[in-house]
Symmetry: C2
Subunit: 139 residues, 2 copies
DNA sequence: AGATACTGTAACCAAAACAGTTGCAGAAAG
DNA sequence: CTTTCTGCAACTGTTTTGGTTACAGTATCT
């Protein structure tokens, strides 16, 4: 399974933005992430749609958090990045009428729903401020 | 995120094999899954390495379960198909020494471990016989 | 007004993972 | 010694993420 690094990268950069306090350009954020300004705009754009950050064009523009680190949970960020389910069950659809396939799929779906609930619970319980404090205390 | 259909397909076909009782060729299994004999051999090959099925070459050969459906759990099948972790945390590794990145990664890792434990528990609690009975009762 | 410093977005290419396909070597039964 | 199987390598297609280039739009400064 392929891991999608966007969540980790966004957590990383949002915490930095919160700690710095001001507005940051895509260029500077890209340097924080060892990547490209366009990738940053692409990904932060998804967060903007969900009201987590706001952007301003033109000279002196850039990106800023719309609320404090304490008011943003990991789940907020994840939901902004994901279109669909967080942990979709990998079902088969080769024979939709086969009762065996349906029974297998039902088992997988149930298990994934349990795991997803656990993941969501953990994500919801963690704010970006918590991450920031952990990081600072370990410097 | 991309869903890997191998687990669902293998559950499907293993239950069929268990219900039929005998030896099945890659050709017939491929028809059950609407796919190709080579894909079947490739995937069942992973299960053979873990002792879940055995194969015989030559005329009259094919694939057979090594134990009963009641003695195979979904987790057994999943472990046979997966090399690494079941639910790897999608971490970032852009700045390994940055305490913020490390704190973000730690949070993600912890949450995924909880979810993975839940998934593993559900997989371990479900045998293929359970799937077979569910399917048969719903015919 | 016009240069400058930003974002927004489209259009590509690259890499990774799973799936599908062809081709052929090897083995076992008839 | 032919037929019927598996085993395996090699190639292609597809999807998803990431990286890059290019260019249009916008706000600020002089």
């Amino acid at each position: 399974m392929k891991s999608d690094g966007r969540l980790a990268r966004m957590l990383h950069v949002l915490v930095h933005m919160g700690l710095l306090g001001g507005r940051e350009t895509s260029e500077r954020i890209a340097q924080m992430l060892n990547t490209n300004p366009v990738v940053v705009r692409r990904t932060l754009g998804a967060l903007r749609k969900h009201g987590i950050v706001e952007s301003e064009g033109g000279r002196g523009g850039g990106w800023k958090l719309t609320r404090s680190l304490a008011q943003i949970t990991v789940l907020d960020v994840q939901k902004a990045l994901l279109e669909g389910q967080m942990l979709p069950a990998p079902l088969s659809s080769d024979h939709p009428n086969c009762p065996v396939e349906r029974a297998s799929n039902a088992v997988l779906e149930h298990a994934h729903k349990l795991a997803e609930a656990e993941l969501e619970k953990a994500y919801m319980a963690t704010t970006l401020e918590h991450i920031a404090k952990t990081a600072v205390s370990k410097v």
